[in-house]
Symmetry: C2
Subunit: 203 residues, 2 copies
DNA sequence: CGGTTTCCATACGGGATAGTATTGACGAAT
DNA sequence: ATTCGTCAATACTATCCCGTATGGAAACCG
């Protein structure tokens, strides 16, 4: 399980810093992502950090690109459906984002998006990810027989919903959040234009 | 237009600080809300601040409550419809939040929600606001003849959508965002259970 | 084995910020 | 006019943090 028999280093590399940075990002947001804090977490000093990175900004950009690559990899995987099971896959995508299961991923997602509201470079990365996501999801709708414009509307609604949902605090509102989410998934996914009428609710 | 003929003070009071704080909050987020920065913006020094507030936390809580009151006031106003025009009002609510017109308000909204992700007190405030909003919006759906559970789903979808939308960067995705938003509004507002079939798209 | 490279520790300067303590200015009441 | 209460300026301490400079240890190379 060693990375390489020759040249095994127990030392930190750029990637280790980026990984830890993403952890902090999820917990504290970009504002809490300080190099000395990060160094303490990795049990080294800044001396190490400034060896691997030019400055703080350098780390932030690395985090951004690391996140982007991971997201896009996941997206294409999640939106690849066996022919005929596209609707099922749509439900699956909604489910992935709206459950507490992927809490960590959503925390990172929200931290990056908040970051992007004030940082053009982060905004550009989010734009790429969103574009990919929307196109992939739209293809699923198209494969279900939904016309282009409606497919666009529905996939946009889908992603806006899942991100917005994790910004809300709705404990007091509904006693059965599971039912709520199921019904909302139907509102998003079910189109009159669809081939399948009563889809097996992919759970 | 004077506040009071007697006792007019040109000096700062708590409220002036809170107002300015919300301005900074919109621009920089909670993390950027520092007392010295705020003081500079108001052209005074911290000496003034610590007279009006116990500490930074004191200001933050004041901001939170000020925001809550304003939100709830707006919500009840926005969701009050003349009988028979409830559907129109639903479209209006969607419109309010999804246009760039109310950009400032949305920036504050997002800043508070990001804040709430790490601060229990902020989360409690957001919970109150969300609960009020959801119930008010649900009443609109109910008034349209939509059954309870569907009304719950649709109003939740409504708010999650508008917040999520302002987190996304979709410039490249669609060439006609106006049409997109219109169609999505239809997906959210239009129910099979509705009395009115083809509502005049309140623009 | 000695030199070189790689990675990290330490020490330092400088800036931003929270909070306190003290003083000062100004208007209002007596 | 004197006094008092209100609000703000100044000065100071203590942190936290970025970035740099420099030295040191361990691995690697010849």
């Amino acid at each position: 399980m060693e990375t390489a028999p020759v040249k095994q280093r127990i030392q930190l590399d750029r990637d280790a810093w980026v990984q830890a940075a993403i952890e902090v990002l999820a917990e504290e947001g970009v504002a809490g992502l300080r190099v000395e804090v990060l160094a303490k977490r990795l049990k080294v000093t800044k001396g190490s950090f400034y060896w691997h990175f030019q400055d703080r900004r350098d780390l932030l950009l690395a985090v951004l690109h690391y996140w982007k690559d991971g997201r896009i990899r996941d997206i294409v995987k999640q939106t690849r459906a066996q022919p005929g099971r596209e609707l099922e896959q749509i439900y699956h995508v909604i489910d992935i984002y709206s459950t507490t299961r992927s809490r960590r991923g959503m925390m990172i997602e929200l931290a990056v998006r908040d970051w992007a509201r004030r940082d053009p470079e982060a905004a550009a990365i989010v734009a790429e990810v969103d574009d990919t996501r929307l196109r992939c999801a739209r293809n699923l709708f198209l494969a279900c027989g939904v016309p282009m414009e409606e497919a666009s509307s529905r996939c946009m609604l889908l992603y806006a919903y899942v991100f917005g949902l994790s910004l809300m605090v709705y404990d007091r509102f509904d006693s059965d959040p599971a039912r709520l989410k199921r019904d909302i998934a139907d509102l998003i996914a079910r189109s009159a234009a669809m081939k399948t009428e009563t889809p097996a609710t992919a759970s």
